[in-house]
């Protein structure tokens, strides 16, 4: 078969697609982080653990209650988002007036607790979750498994819908305004504390939704979030903290760059995102899409 720049097309497009799939998760998780940071000023270190909880809840729904993937796709994010409501009301609300560091430490502690509980209950080895969309299609230049295509389409749709709500609707205008001056928005008659709680729950639900999408593609394991979250933080730093479109574009873009690095220089594939982060921090400390404060 013909080669493209010395690489067989199957390998090139295969890695490109894996990059897009990783990028889908980077985008969804960094989007949630950006939304939460924008309004709450909290660096939600529990985000990876909440992604992991989404996958575990999907596994439990299937194996304990017989609820299949498509049901779990709706139920699991709602259940995990409900834990987000409690976390915000009980813990994070008390930290609103303090430095970012306190929120980061609290959510880091929560992440360790969530992972520890899951590890003690289910072990560290990981558990399989059946593929709800088996099979695929041969595109000539590559084989496209249906489920991988679904991950990309679903995450793109979720990211764009979130962007639309935040940038183009009245609710989004309240969110953007409350990010700048919450007390002014509250003086307009808007219940900002409730909006903050719901925003945190939404961000957490988004992480859980990514977790459900990830369950059939990867092993459901207690470490699945912590493996991903460090890269996601790098993605958020590169895109710019608090930038919605920045989180989406950077998430997908860096997934693709990582995938292509695996083809052209595999040794650098684990570090390329962090090298880009260092370069961006030197040139544009606020991130590619972030506004300097």
């Amino acid at each position: 078969m013909m080669e493209l720049i010395g690489i067989p097309p199957q390998a090139l497009f295969g890695q490109l697609m894996l990059g897009l799939i990783n990028g889908s998760f980077y985008a969804m998780l960094s989007l949630g982080l950006a939304v939460i940071f924008g309004l709450l000023n909290v660096i939600n270190f529990a985000h990876g653990a909440q992604y992991m909880l989404g996958a575990f809840v999907a596994w439990m729904l299937l194996n304990w209650l017989g609820i299949p993937y498509w049901g779990a796709l709706v139920i699991a994010p709602i259940l995990v988002a409900a834990t987000g409501l409690v976390i915000e009301r009980v813990f994070l609300r008390r930290l609103h007036d303090l430095d970012h560091l306190y929120g980061l430490l609290l959510t880091f502690g929560l992440a360790l607790i969530f992972e520890g509980v899951m590890r003690s209950q289910f072990g560290a080895a990981g558990m399989p979750y059946g593929n709800p969309l088996p099979g695929g299609v041969n595109l000539g230049f590559m084989y496209l498994p249906w489920y991988r295509g679904w991950i990309i389409v679903a995450s793109l749709a979720i990211c764009l819908a979130t962007w639309f709500v935040i940038e183009r609707t009245k609710l989004g205008a309240y969110l953007r305004a409350a990010t700048e001056r919450p007390e002014i928005v509250q003086s307009f008659g808007i219940d900002v504390p409730r909006m903050i709680t719901l925003t945190y729950a939404f961000g957490v639900g988004l992480a859980a939704l990514a977790g459900v999408l990830a369950a059939p593609a990867y092993q459901v394991s207690p470490n699945m979030g912590s493996n991903l979250i460090i890269v996601v933080f790098a993605v958020v730093v590169i895109g710019g903290m608090g930038s919605i479109m920045g989180a989406i574009v950077t998430g997908f873009g860096l997934g693709v760059i990582e995938g292509l690095t695996k083809v052209f220089y595999p040794e650098a594939s684990n570090t390329v995102i962090f090298v880009i982060m260092a370069l961006v921090l030197m040139v544009r400390p606020a991130g590619l899409f972030g506004a300097a404060k």
């Binding site: 205008a173 953007r176 990010t179 700048e180 002014i184 509250q186 003086s187 307009f188 008659g189 219940d191």
Partner: protein, 234 residues
């Protein structure tokens, strides 16, 4: 005499350990434009924040239209019909001028329509699609006032609307305040410039060290110029 819309009694307020308001007492009647005059740090802005519920540590009594609001959250006070136009205007740079204007929900009937706001502040419409951050100080002030006029609020708290503005813009703000009065809105205005205040307001409370220390009508201002200058440090 019109009935009292806002009655503030023995209002105390704190920022952390600092005791700022030491028992404020005053009232504003329906349809009146009343000012709080005082020098920087006298507690005028803090009083407005306490009335709006934005000052967390407060005690005493703030009765709005007969309803005690001292323990209410700001959004609940706003829904009763109180609106605040803050000193720094509170225009959102992430939103366009139009988005800023339409941001506060219309809470009750009687608010201005967009057409009426266009007539009052024609310059704003020319900036419709611009970011709020691109407006001049005067335009930001017009937008901040216009924004709360849409909501149907019955009591407007205005914090130094003329501060730092060119005389021609101050004139426009003055016209806008007189229009509010003509429409029957009740306004509590915080000012340092008593000469400006005397051209728009009915009555004045002089504030010092977080307390009301004097009270006069606009007609009495001319006779008290020296005393006011001493109070206000001008």
């Amino acid at each position: 005499m019109p009935e009292t819309l806002l009655k503030v009694s023995d209002l105390h307020g704190w920022y952390g350990e600092s005791h700022i308001l030491h028992g404020m007492n005053f009232e504003v009647r329906k349809g009146e434009l009343v000012t709080l005059l005082g020098r920087n740090g006298a507690g005028k802005t803090t009083t407005l924040k306490a009335i709006m519920g934005l000052l967390r540590q407060r005690k005493g009594s703030v009765a709005f239209d007969g309803t005690e609001t001292i323990s209410m959250a700001p959004h609940k006070i706003a829904r009763l019909g109180v609106a605040l136009c803050p000193e720094e205007r509170g225009i959102f740079s992430a939103l366009t001028v139009r988005e800023n204007l339409h941001l506060p929900p219309v809470l009750r009937e009687g608010g201005m329509t967009e057409a009426e706001i266009d007539t009052l502040f024609p310059r704003l419409k020319e900036r419709w699609g611009n970011s709020g951050a691109k407006l001049s100080g005067g335009e930001q002030q017009m937008l901040a006032i216009a924004r709360i006029l849409r909501t149907g609020a019955t009591l407007v708290l205005l914090d130094e609307p003329t501060e730092g503005l060119a005389p021609v813009i101050v004139q426009q703000i003055r016209d806008a305040l007189l229009e509010l009065k003509r429409r029957g809105l009740t306004v509590l205005l915080v000012e340092q410039n008593f000469r400006f205040a005397s051209t728009v307001a009915d009555r004045h409370y002089v504030v010092e060290h977080g307390q009301v220390v004097d009270h006069m009508t606009s007609d009495e201002i001319a006779a008290n110029t020296e005393r006011l200058e001493a109070f206000l440090g001008v």
